[in-house]
């Protein structure tokens, strides 16, 4: 009797919402993660992997880092340029992530503390990203782009 009731109750309750039901909503949620968590999320299942690969998710992540007020006016322009240069995911992986990591570990006050500094970091990231993209345009050029090697090398903590 109790079980039956429980079963009826479950059936009548509005269906438990599953996070996987709506990809856009999932994207909204994942977009609030930080870089590492987002990468981990991408490994969960195929759906999550696909959603995490959406550039919009990474765009939100990048913009959050920047907390940009400076680039607001050219927002749509920025998106076009970044997309053309290789997308926000690559931007984060190659530039924004390492830059903010490095600045946070070396500086006493990370760029998050000041909007101006964050905007400067964003501009710097974009500049370095464009150089990286340029290197990749190998018209019989170099094998691997290396202008960002200095970001990849370990921070000297002496």
């Amino acid at each position: 009797m109790g079980e039956e009731e429980k079963h009826n109750v479950e059936q009548e309750k509005p269906c438990g919402y599953n996070i996987n039901d709506n990809a856009d909503l999932l994207a909204e949620i994942l977009a609030r993660l930080d870089g590492r968590s987002l990468c981990a999320a991408a490994c969960v299942c195929r759906l999550w992997g696909a959603v995490s690969r959406k550039d919009a998710v990474w765009e939100a992540l990048c913009n959050r880092h920047v907390s940009s007020s400076a680039t607001d006016s050219s927002f749509p322009g920025t998106r076009t340029v970044v997309a053309a240069l290789g997308g926000y995911r690559r931007l984060y992986r190659r530039c924004v992530g390492p830059i903010f990591d490095r600045l946070a570990s070396s500086g006493d006050h990370g760029p998050q503390s000041s909007a101006v500094a964050a905007a400067a970091a964003a501009r710097l990231s974009l500049s370095l990203f464009s150089i990286d993209c340029y290197e990749r345009l190998s018209v019989g050029g170099r094998q691997r782009p290396s202008s960002l090697l200095f970001l990849g090398s370990a921070v000297d903590v002496t």
């Binding site: 340029v81 600045l103 464009s130 993209c133 340029y134 090697l149």
Partner: protein
């Protein structure tokens, strides 16, 4: 009495190195020979016991300290040396010590270099604020230096008093003794100082055209360099090579085509591993960006296009500027290469491709010129547009040709550019006197190598190539003369005078450039040793209080903001 005092004393007598014990003994002795030692067969004057003890300590240190060259030394001692009868202990010790010291005392034929008073060493090698030398970072304090120098002097007097050495050893004899790699064992730090002194001594010898002794010192330098590591070693290696080239007049047959292609590759690696070129590009770009604000047709003339690494960032910034991107023309000037237009064309295509992806209207022209002085205004084909002229490390080469720099600055002015950005090394490597030039270069490149030292990419091929890049500059400054010496760096002040004199006025680089550059430098670990400074509107990047490169911006004097280019 002797027996009584000697219960323990007798044992100590056999090892007279304990200074304190011998001092105690001295009180019991008569003047004249020490009786106790005499019983053992040693003739030692009591009054000289303390001195002898010290010398024996030194000798012990020299022989006992681990060094890779120990075996060589000991075998030499076993086979070649002539020793005095050890019963005359003072003479014997002097003899041993002089064996060890013959090389160093002979390698400084000019007494001026021998003066190792603490003041000279530290002030010569270090920059005022730093107690540490610009070459080695792990040295002791000044007082430590002083102690070492006094010790060195004492050893030297010992050697000159010894009979076997008989006065100053001539360079020809040095050839022999430096083949025997022996030296008072010293810390790396002292060896570093010796290396620097040897380098300067060699340069002095060359200045006096005393090539024989210069050659002798070269061997010393090679030996000293081999025991060094890190930045000091690189300094030793490259300066030694440069000095060698000068002494033996070794000028490799210059294949200009191969040379400039190779040098481009090297510069590329230098770009990757160090912040200097990036700093140059970012600060210059910021100035150009600001000068282009509000204009719809812009033209950049790059005096040394190389791989075009400066321009993607500018194009991106132009693409994102409020109001949208202008139409962007780039004229790149390159030196002739064997596959002439091909590489320049490819470069243009690459840049055009990038411009297309970010939607910037772009046009590229490549010009090949042997020298910037060959440029005429008509070649640059200017339209009604705003012009920026950019020169990164391209101007100093013009100083090798009389009249060239004036002509180029004239050409630049006649183009009526909105802004001219120049980046140059902040050093005076263009003095007429060789020695002056040499010591300046030694300071500068030591600091540079110091800054390049110790990253996690040490020993990687990129690092090596960047070092070769710097090494070639060193070779040029030291070993070349006349038209071949193209690395004629001058200080920011000298350039400011020159450019002002040609009818330009300086444009402040502004805080945006400063901030961006500072942030860029923060990304290169060791950010607190790099220093960005503002100097009369120009920005300099330096290492530990020594500025190394300087960016400056200019416009035609009197032009003001009234000059309106076509919109």
């Amino acid at each position: 009495m002797e027996l009584m005092g000697n219960g323990g004393g007798r044992v100590n007598q056999e090892y007279p190195m304990g200074k304190r014990k011998t001092m105690a003994m001295e009180q019991d002795m008569d003047a004249g020979m020490d009786e106790l030692l005499a019983e053992l067969g040693y003739k030692v004057r009591s009054s000289s016991m303390a001195d002898l003890a010290q010398k024996l300590e030194l000798l012990d240190r020299a022989m006992g300290n681990s060094s890779a060259l120990d075996d060589i030394f000991l075998s030499h001692l076993a086979s070649d040396s002539v020793h005095y009868n050890p019963s005359d202990m003072s003479r014997w010790v002097d003899n041993m010590l002089s064996e060890l010291d013959a090389p160093p005392s002979a390698t400084f034929p000019s007494p001026s270099v021998v003066d190792l008073s603490p003041i000279n060493v530290s002030s010569w090698l270090g920059y005022p604020a730093q107690p540490s030398l610009s070459i080695q970072s792990d040295c002791g304090s000044d007082s430590h230096l002083g102690l070492e120098s006094r010790e060195w002097k004492r050893i030297r007097t010992a050697s000159s008093s010894a009979d076997c050495s008989g006065g100053l050893i001539r360079p020809s004899e040095v050839v022999y003794s430096s083949a025997m790699p022996m030296m008072m064992v010293e810390s790396d730090h002292e060896a570093g100082i010796r290396l620097v002194h040897a380098l300067v001594a060699c340069a002095e010898a060359i200045q006096e055209e005393n090539y024989k002794s210069a050659d002798a010192i070269m061997k010393q330098i090679t030996f000293l360099t081999s025991s060094q590591h890190g930045a000091m070693r690189k300094v030793g290696v490259y300066f030694a090579e440069a000095l060698g080239r000068r002494i033996y007049s070794l000028h490799p047959k210059q294949d200009h085509y191969l040379d400039s292609a190779f040098s481009d590759i090297l510069q590329m690696h230098f770009y990757e591993t160090c912040p200097y070129l990036k700093f140059a590009h970012f600060t210059a770009n910021q100035a150009i960006l600001e000068a282009f604000a509000g204009h719809r047709r812009v033209h950049v003339i790059d005096f040394g296009i190389k791989q075009g690494m400066q321009w993607p960032a500018l194009m991106q910034a132009l693409a994102l500027r409020p109001g949208g991107p202008p139409s962007f023309r780039l004229t790149g000037i390159a030196s002739p290469q064997s596959d002439n237009s091909d590489s320049l064309q490819k470069l243009g295509l690459k840049l055009a491709q990038l411009a297309r992806t970010i939607n910037v209207e772009f046009e590229f022209r490549g010009l090949v010129a042997n020298s910037l002085a060959d440029l005429e205004p008509y070649m640059l084909d200017v339209e009604p547009e705003v012009i920026a002229i950019n020169s990164v490390f391209e101007l100093h080469g013009l100083l090798a040709l009389p009249g060239a720099i004036e002509k180029v600055l004239d050409t630049v002015r006649s183009l009526r550019p909105r802004i001219v950005t120049t980046v140059e090394q902040e050093a005076n490597h263009n003095a007429d006197g060789f020695l002056e030039r040499f010591t300046e270069a030694l300071h500068y490149y030591s600091t540079l190598f110091d800054s390049m030292d110790g990253g996690s990419d040490e020993g990687s091929p990129e690092k090596l190539m960047s070092e070769v890049f710097v090494g070639r500059q060193i070779c040029n400054v030291v070993a070349c003369e006349g038209f071949e010496r193209t690395e004629r760096h001058e200080t920011l002040e000298q350039w400011m005078l020159r450019i002002r004199g040609a009818g330009f006025e300086s444009v402040n680089l502004g805080s945006n450039a400063f901030k961006q550059a500072s942030m860029l430098l923060a990304l290169f670990g060791r950010g607190d040793e790099y220093r960005i400074e503002e100097k009369e509107g120009c920005l300099t990047l330096g290492w530990n209080n020594r500025p190394l490169i300087a960016t400056s911006a200019w416009r035609v004097a009197g032009a003001g903001d009234g000059v309106e280019a076509a919109r």
